[in-house]
């Protein structure tokens, strides 16, 4: 007898005029569809869940046209397939602005396999997968009308924004390696780490200079006149995973992660007893309180 798996669900909306524009340089229709799927898939990744079905509610203005709507849905379907899921239903309506709301249903074999935001323990390390700050820099480039740049740092940052890759295999691997708590980086590390701190009722301290920056971010940030570490701490949409795990699990987590997606796992801080909060320790020893970003264009 096979026990019934645990079902997990994530909902996310992506809205014209708030999260993106339909202007040159901004994500293409297929990328909008893929991005809308990625956000929900990433949320499931952070639970260590396997996505199964996605349901898409699409609101389309007349000016968008049928051809672009089909491209959008093709991008959504490809993103779902790439994550081992399929679009199993949906609804198409007219709307004054383009919006796409995605509900993704996933599963885990049993309750104890599911990682939440609430399981972190005092003494746990805080770590992030891959590199961060790229999508935030990409957004700044679009806002400055520099979406057509073709130098490698700009291309890399724009690709992070336009074609996010939810860390599904990494999420599963980290769950199996003994992660205590996880959250995906959608609203920015400052905001997402605070969610994890609150859910786990712990204080978080992060070493600002330890953040694994996207390649080329130093160069871009010099042009953008932004501190790259503060940008990486506050900008969102990188869709990497932020994980709390016991020091004893670190080596194993790094090993499975390298094997599953070839991703680095960088320790950026630690959790301790205390009022839920996130403090960023600067090189001068001072503490900065940074804010997540608000996902507005």
């Amino acid at each position: 007898m096979r026990s019934r798996p645990v079902t997990l669900t994530s909902v996310d909306s992506y809205v014209e005029g708030v999260h993106f524009r339909l202007d040159p340089g901004w994500p293409e229709p297929a990328q909008i569809g893929a991005r809308a799927l990625a956000a929900s898939l990433s949320d499931l990744a952070a639970m260590g869940a396997r996505p199964a079905e996605a349901y898409v509610a699409l609101g389309v203005p007349e000016r968008f046209g049928e051809r672009r709507a089909l491209e959008l849905m093709r991008g959504a379907a490809q993103a779902a397939a790439g994550a081992g899921a399929q679009i199993a239903g949906g609804d198409l309506v007219s709307a004054p602005i383009l919006f796409i709301s995605v509900t993704v249903v996933g599963w885990a074999a049993q309750e104890s396999d599911v990682v939440t935001r609430a399981g972190a323990q005092p003494g746990d390390l805080l770590a992030v997968t891959g590199a961060i700050g790229g999508a935030g820099a990409g957004l700044m480039l679009l806002q400055r009308g520099e979406g057509a740049r073709s130098d490698p740092p700009a291309l890399r940052a724009l690709a992070r924004l336009r074609a996010p890759r939810p860390r599904l295999a990494a999420g599963l691997a980290l769950a199996q390696a003994g992660a205590h708590a996880m959250i995906d980086l959608s609203d920015g590390l400052a905001e997402d780490a605070l969610q994890l701190a609150r859910s786990s009722s712990l204080a978080v301290e992060i070493d600002l200079q330890s953040l694994p920056l996207e390649e080329g971010l130093h160069e871009l940030c010099a042009q953008l006149q932004r501190d790259p570490y503060e940008l990486a701490a506050s900008a969102g949409e990188d869709y990497e995973l932020c994980v709390a795990l016991p020091p004893t699990a670190l080596a194993r987590a790094r090993e499975v992660l390298a094997r599953s997606e070839g991703l680095a796992l960088t320790v950026i801080g630690r959790l301790s007893a205390g009022a839920p909060s996130v403090a960023f320790r600067a090189p001068d020893g001072g503490v900065r309180r940074l804010r997540g970003y608000e996902h507005r264009i």
Copy 2:
């Protein structure tokens, strides 16, 4: 050992400027929430499914405000609870216009309990629950700025539009009574019967004068200068059920329906072999091709 039930899902969006306005006389916030749930719940009702969880993606413009957003969610939660479901997750984002996308997940004990649009047989009767045309007349009143009318026919029509009641118990009862195919009346009988005809690859003939009109519709339609039967055939949002069933099942279906929701079941036509189509037979013997309505305000 209990077998795993069949899961069924429905998605529906309700969009400001397309399906409703935020003006006096139009649905209040709580009614908007309830209406958004009702559409998805009604779709499950037509499958003979039991709704379990609902996921709500809400896009809210700043001008709408937090108080009204909470009222909307309260209305949605009440509508879910009234159907035996609960809102199990969701997402709130800023948006230029108000929209609400609902995904409802329901279940049936086994595959053979599920009624689709595709199971109708030649010789089946076509029947509808309750009364129709009320919501369409209510929408016309709102469009004419007559949403504050308090005469009983207007009140009844406006209530059908503002507070739809998905026919969940009726759907289950009809499924158990041997319904071959079912669809809910959201886009208007002309459109919804055509969907059923196409899915079942059959021709549908409907006796226009047999349609069970909402009480007071004759009176309202005289004011609105519309033929009440044509309005009932083409306007939508009544959320009654349209069912194909063998003549031998009619008495039993009427009995269980009267017991479950106290609803009438009115035979309005029949299905036969032929190219998928819907013909409305008029009293003069002529055939009218009517169109469903487009859900636009």
